[in-house]
């Protein structure tokens, strides 16, 4: 077996040194009746060539985003990732190291976490950021739990513009912990009045911007209302690139920010692994979930970095920890950091402008089709289309024509009377020809 260094001679020598007659003697604590006497009914080992052939065959049954005009978003976005990012994260020293528990021989990982934390704080305009969560949805769940701890209240109000999967996760966790999560009805036009719902029992309001339907939301007013009522504002985003162009949550008064960082440095991966971004005001630092990396010095006075404030975490506080998270999104956060380092502020802003420009162009073209309406007054790189017909069918038929033309809203929000809505996203990877193909496909689908 190519991954196992021991050969049968080694094994015999080692068993002798250990002082047992055979390997099964080392498994003697397993009750005899429960031991497997034969290999399980699964195929035997395969060569590298065989595995490659088999998996390539499965991969070939899928339609990659890069192979077609592609406009699917709704919480995960197709962006270009520079080749150097993937090269660097495959460095053995990053790829095959563990959580940096021995800081003297993990300064590489630790310094990149410190850079990541600084970048996330800068991007969101918040005081502090942690070393990552699993993804945007679980970061949102953690943000709500953190708001409960800080306010000692147990009712979260969840905007109808929050990604439905995020809202379901928040609701599931809240139900388990015996907390309240009031999820508002889908809010296509960003018209809900959240402020009126905040009362003395409200721990937090959870609002996403750009929201699930693509609308940009000014959070300043709701932040002020939260402040007056002793509640916290949890701001969520699923498209990190938007922060290059759109007012960041920290500038609008957010107390806690939870976001999805996949857009920067990470590929679509069919939904994971992604990278959850988590930031907060400094005064809430000790209630934050997840790892934090801090700066310090070594015994000879040189700057170095360590994991710090660990007493918040499960390995020390156990059932009183701020979260159960252990493994996070280390390598995906490194990809985020490297890509953002390549971009820099100027590059990120330009990337965001291109996204916005492409989406504006697409929206204008689609709006010109008879029976198609763009519902958004504001948006970044994604918006909601209302079509004369069933959105799910239209998207499938466009797929038959070789265009992946967005997400039918009903896939995430069925039975809500939203069957004629499509979310369409356009990023820097779309060409003018792609957009023209989308227009043509939708036109074709609607006219037949």
């Amino acid at each position: 077996m190519r991954y196992l260094p021991l050969n049968s001679e080694d094994r015999a020598d080692m068993l002798a040194r250990v002082g047992v007659a055979n390997i099964d003697a080392l498994f003697a604590d397993i009750p005899k009746a429960k031991r497997l006497e034969h290999d399980l009914d699964l195929p035997p080992r395969k060569t590298e060539i065989e595995v490659e052939r088999l998996l390539s065959g499965l991969a070939a049954k899928n339609v990659p985003a890069g192979a077609v005009p592609f406009f699917v978003g709704a919480g995960a976005y197709k962006h270009h990732v520079p080749a150097s990012v993937d090269h660097l994260i495959q460095r053995s020293e990053f790829l095959t190291s563990y959580t940096p528990y021995q800081p003297e021989i993990a300064q590489g990982t630790l310094q990149t976490i410190f850079e990541f934390q600084t970048q996330v704080a800068g991007l969101t305009a918040m005081d502090v950021a942690n070393a990552s969560m699993y993804d945007g949805s679980t970061a949102t769940v953690e943000a709500v739990a953190m708001a409960h701890r800080i306010t000692k209240r147990r009712k979260a109000i969840v905007s109808g513009g929050l990604h439905p999967h995020y809202a379901e996760a928040v609701r599931t966790y809240a139900a388990m912990a015996g907390d309240d999560a009031l999820v508002l009805a889908p809010d296509v036009f960003a018209a809900e009045t959240l402020g009126a719902l905040v009362d003395e029992e409200t721990s937090c309001i959870v609002v996403q911007s750009p929201d699930f339907f693509g609308n940009l939301r000014d959070l300043s007013d709701i932040a002020a209302i939260c402040k007056a009522k002793g509640a916290l504002l949890v701001a969520v985003f699923t498209e990190a690139v938007s922060l290059g162009l759109v007012q960041p949550p920290g500038a609008m008064g957010a107390d806690i920010v939870a976001g999805e960082g996949q857009s920067i440095g990470n590929r679509l991966n069919f939904g994971g692994p992604y990278v959850g971004l988590f930031a907060a005001k400094a005064k809430y630092l000790r209630q934050m979930p997840g790892r934090l990396c801090g700066e310090t010095v070594d015994a000879s006075g040189r700057r170095g970095f360590v994991l710090t404030l660990s007493t918040r975490e499960q390995h020390i506080r156990r059932d009183k920890a701020t979260s159960n998270i252990c493994t996070n999104s280390g390598l995906a956060s490194l990809a985020f950091t490297i890509h953002l380092t390549l971009l820099g502020d100027a590059g990120l802003r330009r990337l965001a402008r291109i996204n916005h420009a492409n989406a504006v162009d697409l929206a204008d073209r689609l709006a010109a089709i008879a029976g198609v309406k763009v519902l958004n007054k504001t948006f970044f790189n994604e918006f909601t289309l209302k079509i004369a017909g069933d959105a799910a069918q239209a998207v499938e038929r466009m797929a038959d024509l070789g265009v992946l033309g967005g997400v039918p809203v009903s896939r995430l929000l069925p039975d809500k009377g939203l069957d004629d809505l499509i979310l369409a996203a356009s990023t820097e990877v779309n060409t003018e020809a792609d957009r023209a193909a989308f227009v043509e496909a939708l036109q074709g689908v609607l006219s037949c």
């Binding site: 000790r286 710090t308 007493t311 020390i316 506080r317």
Partner: protein, 125 residues
Amino acid sequence: MPATHYTKSHEYIRVEGETGVVGITDFAQAQLGDVVFVELPPVGQSLSKGTEAATVESVKAAAEVNAPVSGTVIDVNSALGDKPGLVNEDPSGTGWFLKIKLTDAAELDSLMDENAYREFLKTVS
């Protein structure tokens, strides 16, 4: 003449009249290692004997500081906010945690005096 009483969880209370100064013992600070953070209760909070009054954290450990006896918090050592290391340097002096007004002085009888605590330490280490 103030008398100091000790708990099995290594808190002390130094009583003068109706008030007592609460902190952790030298043994406790040594077990914890460098103290990096102390969380203190609000003044005015009432505590019952044995319940959590404060938390103390070192780099790798967090511990609860329990009220040795029942009482109301009348003062806390705010210097620990900036200098948690005082707990290590001078646990029975400048590293104190809080002052309480005792509810029932008779509760002190259930605590150890200095000699008894010294004997007790021999059994734990």
